[in-house]
């Protein structure tokens, strides 16, 4: 009894400090994310002010169901890291918005479970595991209390730089009402296919636009742009019909928002249908009434921004700087304009130049994309005749800086003197002819259309049948076009969203392999290039023999035999190099492991022991000295 009485204060004391401990921790946690530091390179856990604004304006609670197969982590540790990053990122959204605004549910959709069924129904895309027996999921369904929802079928690590943009755009989309309408006119490039009464996007960029907007396809033969169009996107018109030119003219004068991608030389069309069909309509009569023009006979080149490409030269394939395929960096992208602010990499192919007219105070032209001051232009007719090697060879550096994309803002005059259908019964069906703008017009002109081709700006290798969230952008081309639409439709809340540098997902093993490979890279690529050439030669011989039906000469047979022997030697050589790389890489990995697990620990213990012995000896010496001193005294 006395013992119990003695222990009671101690127990009460311990309970009391436990309560204090819990209260303190909960209080600090309640203070939330404002007291968190982001101690990572590139501040990868920090949400941009634009995302924070979207979160603060959420009108309805949002639920995020993250479907994440646990077995994925066991199969692929690198992917497990990305899953952890995504989870943490979603938690960041929750921390900022509050647990009552965003609820996160993490679900492991085990094979044949109800959760797996739900994931499938929601539209998540599964990947087979290593055994091929079961499905692995890593995607999310984001929905709000109003019944609106959006799905990310797969999170892919290569798109990590766009994670914030993707999630914030979805939240903004759920938060706002109906989608805006984008009118699309693309008579030359088949952006959309129609099947079974449905419009199926052919190009990834269309799917990306469709994710946020309603796309209404329009013909390039109409005389009036429908009034329900919020922004009109005209891509590379082939021939501008007078009716459609009139429609565009009057649409802009009524304050309609317009984006024109007018290509002087469409590389995409050249690849599909031949070089001579690769031009766009001459829209200069319209452009001139809007305060600028695009010279139809000039293609812009800039060696400083040229892309390194493999060009077939008379001496075989060579890596060369191709000045007509431009890789713009932040310096050439207007960082003070809301559309282009924060964009750092845009690629254009064989672009034209936008030339502003000098004497029009009512029109303001703001460059969005430019070349460096060392650009030059070449004659388009000559450009079309030359092959890539000649185009590269003949280019001379200049001292011009060209505008490649611009915003045109102001009040315009009509390029027409009257209603184009005047004198016909249809004239009454059109709205009254306007000679001048009745509202401020906004036009964005880009002198290239190839920049929207997904292969030119994204790694399309692992899209997982998902052209929106499965694309891993290498350039900001897609973001640029989306921002043009966001800007003109007034979606300011998403304009400030910036993609960040993608996470460095290269593993240590890959780094070591690259290092080992680089030692043999020259020998490997030389052998590979020669092999390709000799295989091509063999193919050409075979084709020529089949077509000519003539027997080969002794000289040719000898040449063929030599070629065959060399191909075999080269294949052996390549295999040998590959084997050497593999062996050296394995040895390097073992060496690193052995050093860190055996040699460094043993050496460290010995060094510590040595240091201790030295200290001890010195101490003993000192004590001995003091003892001797005392003894002598």
């Amino acid at each position: 009894m006395t013992q119990h009485k003695k222990s009671l204060p101690l127990i009460i004391f311990i309970c009391l400090i436990l309560v204090i401990f819990l209260s303190l921790n909960i209080t600090v946690r309640l203070l939330g994310s404002s007291l968190k530091a982001d101690m990572t390179a590139n501040q990868r856990y920090s949400l941009s002010p634009a995302s924070q604004k979207i979160l603060s304006s959420l009108t309805s609670p949002v639920q995020i169901k993250l479907y994440l197969s646990n077995s994925w982590a066991q199969e692929n540790p690198a992917y497990a890291n990305y899953a952890q990053f995504v989870t943490r990122y979603l938690r960041k959204y929750q921390q900022i918005a509050g647990a009552d605004k965003i609820k996160i549910e993490i679900i492991d959709p085990k094979p044949f479970s109800a959760a797996e069924e739900d994931a499938k129904k929601a539209g998540l895309k599964a990947l087979p595991d290593l055994s091929g027996q079961s499905n692995l999921y890593f995607g999310a369904v984001i929905s709000n209390a109003l019944g609106k929802s959006a799905v990310i079928p797969n999170f892919i690590a290569a798109r990590s730089g766009y994670l914030e943009t993707d999630i914030s755009r979805i939240l903004a989309k759920l938060n706002t009402g109906s989608h805006k309408n984008v009118g699309l006119v693309s008579p030359q490039l088949p952006l959309i296919t129609h099947a079974y009464g449905q419009a199926i996007p052919n190009w990834a960029i269309v799917a990306q636009i469709q994710n946020d907007y309603n796309i209404i396809e329009l013909s390039d033969r109409i005389a009036q742009i429908p009034t329900n169009i919020d922004v009109l996107l005209v891509i590379n018109p082939g021939q501008l019909s007078p009716l459609f030119a009139y429609a565009l003219d009057q649409y802009v004068l009524r304050g309609g928002k317009l984006i024109v991608l007018s290509d002087i030389f469409s590389d995409k069309k050249a690849a599909d249908k031949g070089k001579l069909s690769a031009t766009s309509a001459n829209m200069n009569p319209l452009f001139q009434s809007w305060g600028f023009s695009i010279p139809q006979d000039k293609v812009v080149g800039d060696r400083t921004l040229g892309e390194m490409v493999t060009i077939t030269t008379p001496n075989g394939p060579q890596s060369k700087n191709f000045p007509y395929w431009l890789q713009l960096t932040s310096a050439q992208i207007n960082q003070n304009h809301p559309i282009t602010q924060g964009l750092s990499r845009i690629s254009l192919k064989s672009a034209g130049m936008i030339v502003p007219q000098k004497d029009n105070p009512q029109i303001k032209i703001t460059p969005l994309l430019t070349t460096t001051p060392h650009a030059n232009s070449v004659d388009k007719a000559l450009f079309q005749k030359q092959n890539q090697s000649e185009q590269e060879n003949k280019f001379a550096e200049g001292n011009e800086q060209y505008i490649l994309a611009a915003e045109i803002d102001g009040k315009f005059s009509s390029a027409f003197s009257k209603n184009i259908l005047d004198g016909t019964p249809s004239a009454q069906k059109l709205p009254p002819y306007l000679p001048y703008s009745i509202a401020q017009g906004k036009i964005i002109i880009v002198s290239d259309s190839d920049f929207i081709v997904a292969e030119n700006w994204a790694d399309t290798g692992a899209t997982l049948n998902n052209p929106v969230y499965g694309l891993a952008p290498v350039y900001d081309n897609g973001a640029f076009l989306l921002r043009l639409l966001d800007y003109l439709t007034g979606k300011e809340e998403v304009l400030g969203l910036h993609n960040t540098e993608p996470l460095n997902i290269k593993t240590v093993g890959e780094n070591i392999y690259t290092h080992t490979f680089n030692k043999y890279a020259d020998a490997y690529s030389q052998a590979q290039a020669e092999l390709n050439q000799r295989q091509l030669l063999a193919q050409n011989y075979a084709k020529a023999t089949q077509q000519a039906f003539t027997p080969l000469t002794a000289q040719q047979i000898k040449e063929l035999e030599t070629n065959k022997q060399r191909i075999s030697d080269l294949q052996q050589e390549i295999n040998k190099i590959a084997y050497q790389i593999k062996e050296e890489n394995t040895q390097e990995l073992s060496r690193i492991t052995d050093y860190n697990i055996i040699y460094i620990p043993v050496l460290t213990v010995l060094v510590i022991l040595l240091i201790y012995l030295i200290i001890k000896k010195r101490a003993q010496k000192r004590i001995g000295g003091i003892a001797n001193e005392l003894h002598s005294n």
Binding site: L31, T40, P77, N511, Y595, I600
Partner: protein, 244 residues
Amino acid sequence: MLNDSYTILKKEFGSYFRTPTAYIIIGVYLVISMFSTFYSAYFFMNNNSGLGSFFSYQPEILVILIPALTMKLWADERRSGTLEFILTQPISYNAIILGKFGAAVLFGILLLALTGPFVIYVSFLTELDWQNIVSGYLATILTIMVLTSIGCLISSFNSNAVLAYLFSVFVGWLLISLNYDFMLAPLFPLSENVTYLLSQSLNFYANYLDMTQGEPGLDNLTYFLSLTILILWINRVTIEYKKQ
């Protein structure tokens, strides 16, 4: 008080090196740490810019090794009967507790410092995120502090060092591995938010991961420091209580 603490710290810290214990612990720590980094945490298959593979198993390794440093701190005093002598000296209890605790923590920090060559080695293999690494090391130091305080407390209850070691490992393991959510489940219908907050506040790994993944916060620091102070406080009270 600080001078007294420092004297005790120096004495206790030096005593580790007078026996082979220190060298064995250092060797074992480095080998297990590296082994878990390269094999259990798939060093080559991860990006490791923040040394994630290295930090992922540190709590488990320290749970085994830190009690080896703390098991004798009080138990030996108790067994040899010097505890009463120390407690009657004109030194405050806080100074004694802090001195002993500090010596073990300092040894723990020394263990971590000895992984420096590994970090330098890795910096030649991949690009490192130094801020993240600093945050990870801070998390590990705080883990050492919590585990040391647990070890000190349990050692103060026991005169048998082996028992103190086993209990410390067990309690440390409970702390780092146990998911308290099942205990909090009955609270869930009452308030989802409070339950979530409690679950996050008590979860050792959630706090540890926040820091090793580069997102330390006042909540994590409060968790580790308040837990350490709480346990050291209980340590002081029990010693005082035992003396009475």
